[in-house]
Symmetry: C2
């Protein structure tokens, strides 16, 4: 692969002139510049990124670490990040932590080592990534979940409020034995949804039914088992608040197997809207989170932080809203 000196030799100029001509920085004789560009094109010259980054001490690529690429919520967020980043001349690379603290940590290490311009991370909540980040003082913003320990820029949604509203909606619809399937203990989004659910029951003067709560990973499989488990009880729930998109699929599979129809036989509300949610029969009620906007907000925060503008940590909290559909209507 040809270097800047190859180009210089071919164009009969110094490497400094090549650099200037190609970066359009200082003023260069138009004719020389043309010769340089021609030489570069003929050689298929591409500047060596590592060398350039080393010299410039900066990059124009952002790292976005998410916990599940297959989750539409995170991909929508990624779109938001990308749109803002691209407009500002940055590129974005995605890393998939798989909700595994070790993988998250590995990607954080890479981002730090490669001296990425900035890092957006939707933390698993466990693990020590936060420490690494804090120690390096790299520009970071946490999305969806706060970074434990360090008070950095953060973009959240008020999941507790949304969960509470969802629970109250189920009560209003006439359900009275409301269960909840949410993520692992310690994961902030999982915890806050559970708290909101409980607050909703309390507000409706319904007894807190600890035995109607199940916790598992934010995946279909665990939710599938949890749903079977709950529904096969002697006193099964008559409604379910579901922690996310992927879990909803597991629950729906379980109910389909048992021939239980959502809405009439069991009320259902799941976190995260998805393109297919409205296509189900009955359509699935959801708590829609502003994923795209979370992405744009996070990217903006990060860009400002990179710019070195403010120094105080900021937290942006967006709100989710309930989209009631027939799966939470007992008369549907």
């Amino acid at each position: 692969m040809s270097t800047i000196s190859d180009v210089a030799a071919r164009a009969g100029v110094s490497t400094a002139t090549v650099s200037r001509a190609l970066n359009g920085k200082s003023t260069v004789d138009p004719q020389l510049a043309a010769r340089v560009r021609a030489a570069a094109a003929e050689l298929g010259y591409r500047p060596n990124g590592p060398a350039r980054n080393l010299r410039r001490q900066e990059t124009v690529v952002l790292t976005l670490i998410i916990s599940d690429v297959a989750n539409p919520f995170f991909t929508a967020m990624a779109r938001g990040v990308e749109d803002v980043a691209h407009a500002a001349g940055y590129s974005v690379v995605l890393c998939n932590s798989d909700d595994d603290p070790a993988k998250e940590r590995a990607y954080v290490d890479i981002a730090v080592q490669e001296r990425m311009a900035g890092i957006l991370v939707s933390p698993t909540g466990r693990g020590d990534s936060a420490g690494v980040l804090a120690a390096q003082g790299a520009p970071v913003v946490a999305v969806d979940r706060p970074l434990p320990g360090t008070p950095g820029d953060t973009v959240l949604v008020d999941g507790a409020l949304a969960a509470r509203q969802a629970a109250e909606h189920l009560v209003q619809q006439g359900y009275s034995r409301i269960g909840c399937i949410t993520g692992p203990s310690g994961v902030p989004t999982a915890d806050e949804r559970l708290a909101g659910y409980r607050a909703g029951l309390r507000a409706a003067r319904l007894p807190a039914a600890a035995d109607l709560v199940r916790r598992c990973e934010f995946r279909a499989q665990g939710a599938y088992r949890a749903a079977l488990d709950l529904v096969n009880r002697d006193d099964p729930p008559d409604a379910l608040l579901i922690g996310n998109n992927a879990m909803a699929i597991g629950v729906l599979e379980a109910l389909a197997e048992l021939g239980i129809r959502p809405g009439r036989e069991i009320g259902l509300i799941a976190f995260d809207d998805a393109p297919w949610a409205a296509l189900l029969d009955p359509p699935l009620s959801v708590v829609s989170q502003p994923a795209y906007d979370m992405g744009t907000a996070a990217a903006q925060l990060l860009l400002e932080r990179i710019g070195g503008a403010s120094t105080a940590a900021r937290t942006v909290t967006l709100s989710a809203h309930l989209i009631p559909r027939a799966s939470s209507d007992p008369h549907a």
Copy 2:
């Protein structure tokens, strides 16, 4: 951010010893090594990636460029790539080209400039990324779609065969006016699915109905309009072969709006299985592509190519298989 010389100073040794101790390469006095590690830890030292890559002339990160992060097909593929890559000590970063040749090109440029160890790309089919890649001689493998022009390593699925089988299945089920909504002309996967569809009709001695074919981007919106357009004809199709996952959503939305029930009123088969396809009412018949396996195969090819093993370009072709469900059953 501290450098290797900071660590060296703190440990009272030379930078060379620090490098050796931290990389465990050459043999170092255990006591000294411990002192070095301690110093590094205290300083929160992280090796400078660009400097290291510059010196080593190599990276351990792979770039995977896909056209749609929100498409489960591509994310499943990404999982396959990641699993194989991680096992071999490589990391993977995802880039979202959005099916936009310019974005694809931009990410290819980045990957090449950053001297990524290897590149996996699912090309838009348009644009000149292939030329750049070929010129640089970077390790590349194309997934899902071939890289136009250059005969490099490629992982494909036999979409023509699968489309033909799908069309024939629809015929067997009793449908006779079968339409097709597929991707843009020039996109290989779109073209081959159309070709297979036509072959299926021919094999069944059904007239090729050019006016029942619609082409648009591989997205929901275009497919939504195409479906409305087709169904509102005087002589509408009685079945539809749909180009992919996202398009299926658009078609289903259109049909739901018009109150047309899949299966009984219009046969439906879509490319790409998705977790929600079986949950629909009626469940959606799909052509399931081995996305995960495509990812692992591609990653293996790439790793071998990076290793410098073979020199001849290889093409791996996997096969898709039809999963008939009720949406292609007129009696359901």
